[in-house]
Amino acid sequence: MEQFFSRLRGPWLSAPAALYISLVFAVPVLWLLGLSLVDNGAPSLANYERLASTPLYMRLLGITLKIAALTTLFAVIGAYPVALMLSQVRKRRNLLLLLVLLPFWTSFLVRAFAWMVLLGRRGAINQTLEGAGLIEQPLTLMYNTTGVLVGMSHAMLPLAVMTMLPVMLAVDRRLTLAAATLGARPGSAFWLIWFPLTMPGVAAAGMLVFVTSLGFFITPALLGSERDTVIVQEIIFQIQQQLNWGFAGAIGVLVLLTVLAILSAYNAVFGLSTLGGGIGKAPQKGPVGRMASRIGTGFLTILARMTDAALSLVPQRLSERGVSHPLAATSALILAFLAVPTLFIVPVAFTEASFLSWPPRGFSLQWFDAVTTDPRWIEAVGRSLLVAILSAGIGLLLGVPAAFAIARARFAAKPAVFALLMAPVIVPNIFIAVGLFYLFSRMGLVGTTLGLSLGHAVLAIPYVLVTVIAVVRSYDERLDLAAYTLGASRAETLRRITLPLIRPGLISAFMFAFIVSFDELTIALFLTGGETITLPKKMWDDAILQVSPELAAASTLLFLFMTGFVIVAEFIRQRAAKRGA
């Protein structure tokens, strides 16, 4: 009997989360996509015929793919030196990491506004260049593809860094030293040994950035022109303006198929298992992988020779491991690109003028007064906090047991359950939003705090899952066994040994889920209504009309709050980690 229970126990821990995701996310989304196959109550391919026959939609998909591809290129190229530098420093890594994490946690909206302050016709860059007499006409930096790409690369860079870093940290540093003793010059050691070994990180970062970019519409909507409309915006348009659910579903299927195609291409070459960080032990040996690696090796050999030739112009002297000057300078520039723009939003919030201008005119606190006394802002902040706490709580409640099941139990359905629980972060948010809207509108949950919290919990679960799995995996299970031998029951062991030791991980997971919800816009766009409005939704509504100093003031406050939150949370986590160690 005892054995029967313990056998059931593990896998079943993932059941509540799996059930929740199925009911609140998978079923509505599939139902919705199914609508695309129905026309006037009868099965029909009419939606797909329309999709195929109208050039507009293929053009939108083309624009989306182009923006995503270029964003990926810039983000990955920019992230590589930063991740490389972070993997080489020791003492100051946590501090430098914060420079990447802060922009990562700063609201996408705030960052988009910051770029509007910088890139506008009368923005900081144009004003500075004009003031210096370098240009006569203001440059068009915004409301075009350039603006979108700058904003998107900026938004995705931290994600790329965070994905690459674990892979780089896992590469054995002595391999490049070994290469040097075998006669490899620095260029060869880098391109032929280090770079291929970090390739899984680059690929994983590229894949994640690309897929995330495909579903991203905030930055294109704010920084782009009509010509930079992405396909997700068309889905929103079809649902909100045309009420054409079937056609929206057809577009959705097109986007999903694109995502799936990319995922399977990635899987063919690198294997999806590499996504979790860490390098695959033996390289993949599929035919595609072999081909790619042969071509790659030739290309890298050329790069290596060119680098070595260039380096041979400078006298070679033995240098200890550490960050080289060019690398330090490059990553400093990129870190500045990440961190500095957001700061531009702060001074414009103190302007006396009633419109955004650079440089800000005079000094006044009126816009902060306006924000902090306006009941609509206060209401929005309150709602956002409540929703974030509720959804993070639900996420922990369902996600933590699931993480234990995935990390510890063995069951046949594990990969499927894991894929299901992770689907909300792979599939663009718009699908979650539309599916929830479809479901909740039937249940009267649209426009309620509960509905929003339940919706954000869908997103919270995968974040909690990943964070907690990592902690549970690194947890030495023999400690539990030791507790049992000392006479502790299962419950006591969990309460007194396991949970205290994984507390830093739980704190990270909560923080993760909290911020994801606090910053979430897409789901909020569909699930808020009338009085119930969240902070990002309120900012978005204002921004559609005009990016005003009031919005800058709100953004500044949000930025300060988030920075404080991240730093405090990190402090608490580190203290908990120290006590655990």
Partner: protein
């Protein structure tokens, strides 16, 4: 009479050939990591074709010295010459050395053949030359069949041999090995020790080897460099260090020892704390208070009544007796309670030599080494 070809393994030569060229010279080398001194005024010379082992406890600076020779760290001061050319700050790829890292450092994304070919590719050798050399190197380590596999698909011992092949395929004139057998089980280690030794004899390459296993050092080396606390404690042939250690540490680290304080006038005669008189070579004695070191295996039991046969002797009472295969260890106390150990051949040890029995133990005065006394 003809020598069979497979008799080519000659016993290690225990003397350095002074006519051979100096291959590696290290002078006054110092390296610190922040407050930690990892190497302090280290001097070392190796001749062409020599097998020298760095031996010492953990943290004594062996790896640091090896890494400095390889060009993998930046010494604070001192100089390194390779083949008479100064190389203190030359980058590793310009040193013509081969290095076998402790955990092999095989490139996980390259096949075994590609791993071995790597140094040749770096030297821009032609494709056919590379193919032949790789095949030859893999044959040498008896792993010609694994060329297409990846490192993760080999056992520890096989990976070790590949690391060896990769460090030798380009015929560097010096090979550095950092505890290459550290991670292997005893049997495989014994086997590979012989293989490495054979390769050394066959190729005539100079090898600087690191280990903290004293037996391994004794078996393999022409000379041993004993390290302690970032400094070289003593350099010499295995025989020299075993028979003529210069400090308590050297005596203790290489094998078992009896170390007895003596009072001496400096003329080669001393008195033990028990009052018994012992002799030693006055030429070896350092200035200051002395101890006498006698290896347990230099000690014999003398028959009561027979003469001392010219040996120095002490009265001892046997406390315990341990049979360890070919050797039987006797743990005894002298008349004032000082502990004393004798290792005898099991086959020639009388069963009557048992705990409680008093015996006379003797040794040749050649086997007694005077050391500067250290308060233990």
């Amino acid at each position: 009479m003809t020598h069979p070809a497979n008799m080519s393994v000659s016993p290690p030569t225990n003397t350095i050939d002074h006519s051979a060229a100096i291959k590696l010279q290290v002078e006054g080398l110092r390296k610190t990591y922040g407050p930690i001194v990892a190497l302090d005024s280290v001097d070392l010379k190796m001749v062409e074709g020599e097998f020298l082992t760095l031996l010492g406890p953990s943290g004594s600076g062996k790896s640091t010295l090896l890494w400095a020779v390889a060009g993998l760290n930046n010494p604070d001061s001192g100089r390194i010459w390779l083949d008479g050319r100064e190389a203190t700050y030359a980058p590793p790829q310009e040193r013509d050395i081969g290095m076998v890292f402790q955990n092999y450092a095989l490139f996980p994304h390259l096949s075994i053949a590609e791993n071995v070919a790597f140094p040749l590719k770096m030297r821009r050798k032609s494709g056919t030359d590379i193919g032949a050399a790789v095949k030859n190197a893999l044959n040498t380590v008896q792993l010609s069949h694994v060329g297409d596999r990846f490192p993760a698909e080999l056992s520890g011992g096989q990976q070790q041999r590949i690391a060896l092949a990769r460090a030798m395929v380009y015929e560097p004139s010096v090979i550095l090995m950092d505890e290459p057998l550290g991670a292997l089980d005893k049997k495989l280690r014994d086997h590979l020790q012989i293989e490495i030794k054979e390769l050394h004899e066959r190729l005539g390459v100079t090898i600087l080897y690191v280990t903290h296993d004293q037996e391994e050092a004794l078996v393999m080396s022409d000379r041993i460099c004993l390290m302690k606390d970032a400094r070289i404690e003593q350099i010499g042939t295995s025989d020299e260090i075993y028979r003529r250690p210069r400090t308590h540490f050297a005596a203790d680290f290489l094998g078992e020892s009896n170390i007895l304080p003596i009072e001496s006038d400096g003329a080669g005669v001393g008195r033990l704390s028990t009052g018994e008189v012992v002799r030693f070579d006055a030429g070896l004695a350092p200035e200051g208070p002395l101890s006498l070191m006698i290896r347990p295996d230099a000690v014999r039991i003398l028959d009561v009544g027979a003469g001392s046969e010219g040996l120095d002797c002490v009265m001892a009472k046997i406390e315990s007796r341990i049979m360890a295969g070919a050797i039987t260890k006797l743990f005894a106390t002298l008349s004032d309670g000082t502990r004393f150990q004798a290792n005898l051949l099991t086959g020639s040890t009388h069963a009557g030599v048992a705990p409680g029995v008093s015996v006379i133990l003797g040794w040749s005065s050649d086997a007694a080494v005077p050391l500067l006394r250290e308060s233990a």
